[in-house]
Amino acid sequence: MEQTSISLHTIEEVKPPVTSIGVIGWARKNLFSNILNSLLTILIAYGLFRSVPTFIKWAFVNAVWWSDGQACNQASGACWSIVTKNLRFILFGFYPYEQQWRPVFAIVLLAAFVFFSSFRRNWNKYLLVAWIVGLTLIGLIMHGGFLGLPSVETEQWSGISLTLLLSIFGLSAAYPFGVILALGRRSRLPAIKTLCVVYIELIRGVPLISMLFMASVMFPLFLPEGVTINKILRAQVAIIMFTAAYIAEVVRGGLQAIPRGQYEAAETLGLNYYLKMRLIILPQALKTVIPPTVSILISAFKDTSLVVIIGLFDLLRTTHVTLSNPEWMGFSTEAYLFTASIYFVGCFVMSNFSRRLERELKT
């Protein structure tokens, strides 16, 4: 025994072979580990060599940034002028031109709220109150009609303000609604269970577009004469109902992944149904389904663009309208690239946040 431990100490520490560390080592291991990998590496390198410089030349070197439509037609590169010259219309649509500082202010306020809320240490009941106050404030500023602010009807809220409005309210209302539906579907009370199953299957069985159509065309027919419900609100409700059904199924998957023993241990302590779910089951279930939940939220965020179908002017629609102006016809690539990048930022923020949350909740 002793001899072995002595001999262990006397073995010299040897450095690893040069070929397995450093840049050369990394490249050998990751890029040229066998013939197929080497071939793919070369092929991809060639593809990048051909495409990247061309793109850079088009997007930056030969691009036109601040010209009018005429100059754009002469240029060989990208015409970013369509974005810069129409920026305010793309972003804010028909919101009165002189009043557009209000959506800017609202968006900055909203971004600040989102940023602040993304840290878990800030999560408490005051944050919820702050959100309610904040969203009310945003609504008031957008709508106006007090303190000398001219009132702007919701029909004029368009562009990015509408997209954000539909997504923020849509996602934050659909999530709790979906969780309740998931719990209902696993309920032991037959009436509640049936109701939830029927709801979920019915909603999942129709496309979002048809729900939006129903909300905008069919629903008003059922209202008594003289009663109208705002079109944006109707679209909003359709989006919430649709997204909630999908979230419910994902959350149900999470609930099923929780072992029976967790329910039993919670019940043995004398916790009632509400406390058992709130303290033991949901925290674990919701954590395990963060990745699929975020997928649904991201796709719901992008799906808000379907409201163009019922004539609402969201970000995508205002871009489209810009393109129908004869001066800017034919520059759809640039315009849509810009719009896509805005959507990308939103989705990227969400997926980044979810990855951080998963890391923090890992136990």
């Binding site: 023993g261 039993e264 241990a265 919670a266 302590l269 004398g270 916790l271 925290p283 674990q284 136990t363």
Partner: protein, 293 residues
């Protein structure tokens, strides 16, 4: 003594939902003589009890068509320690799980701490507060720290202030020799440590009865002793314990009674000394010869 007649579950009582009232009445009617007394006791659960803390009277349970528990009669006094053993599938776990209503019985009655177990959810929750349970697989809450696992019940069910709940939790963690792990998560502890935490978690609720469902079966051999030591210590302090276990040493040193079960019936009830040296029932003899080699 042992009726081997195959009984069918009564059709009305197989329906499990929300029929509390009618079920109470029908079970009481069946149970016979003591009706009036227990019914009143159910109404005044705060009255000081003098009788046994657990009473099971001709209780039956079915899983679907399968008759898992047949005519169980058992009475447990305060401070009594009972070890239940028997081959797997004999219904011993199901029996103790019926005592805190993790399983529902269909005939007969179970009275715990003067409250009869019926479909009344309030009564069930009241009984669960008084009856602690330790599981084979610990069932700690993995998303909470050890300390949070222990304070959860006292804070949310017993409604104690957090500081007091933490004092109680630390007291019991000291008792199971694991106080230094309070801030860790269950996944960072060994099996034996987790099981000791599970015992401490139950004790924090200050239960009157502790149920142990094969508490050492899922443990590595070298960790069995640390858990049994804690259980013995608990026994010496006078806790009422029902233990499903094959730990014969534990049974010999702390149990007042050993119950032997097979195919849903209690076949033998004996003192540990008698049971191990001189079992009465043929099935017990066979069982003992198999586990003692």
């Amino acid at each position: 003594m042992f009726r081997n007649v195959k009984l069918q579950p009564p059709p009305r009582e197989r329906i499990k939902d929300l029929r509390g009232r009618r079920l109470i009445n029908s079970t009481l009617r069946e149970a016979g003589e003591n009706n009036k007394m227990t019914y009143q006791a159910t109404k005044t659960p705060d009255k000081v009890s003098t009788g046994p803390i657990i009473r099971i009277v001709s209780m039956h349970k079915w899983f679907g068509e399968f008759h898992v528990l047949k005519d169980i009669n058992l009475s447990v006094d305060k401070g009594e320690r009972i070890v239940i053993c028997g081959p797997s599938g004999s219904g011993k776990s199901t029996l103790i799980r019926c005592i805190n209503r993790l399983e529902e019985h269909q005939r007969g009655k179970i009275i715990v701490d003067d409250i009869e177990l019926t479909n009344d959810i309030k009564n069930i929750e009241k009984i669960r507060v008084e009856v602690g349970m330790v599981f084979q697989h610990f069932n700690l809450f993995p998303h909470l720290t050890i300390l949070e696992n222990l304070t959860l019940g006292p804070i949310w069910v017993r409604k104690l202030p957090r500081s007091e709940a933490e004092d109680i939790a630390m007291y019991f963690l000291e008792k199971v020799h694991i106080a230094e792990q309070a801030a860790k998560f269950p996944g960072q502890l060994s099996g034996g440590q987790q099981q000791r935490v599970a015992i401490a978690r139950s004790l924090c609720m200050k239960p009157k009865v502790m149920l142990f469902d094969e508490p050492t079966s899922a443990l590595d051999p070298e960790m069995v002793k640390e858990v049994l030591d804690v259980m013995m210590q608990l026994a010496h302090e006078g806790m009422t314990m029902l233990v499903v276990s094959h730990e014969m040493g534990f049974a010999k040193s702390v149990a007042h009674r050993v119950l032997f079960m097979d195919s849903g019936q209690i076949l033998e009830e004996n003192t540990p000394g008698e049971f191990f040296s001189n079992p009465r029932h043929d099935r017990s003899k066979l069982f003992l010869s198999q586990i003692l080699h």
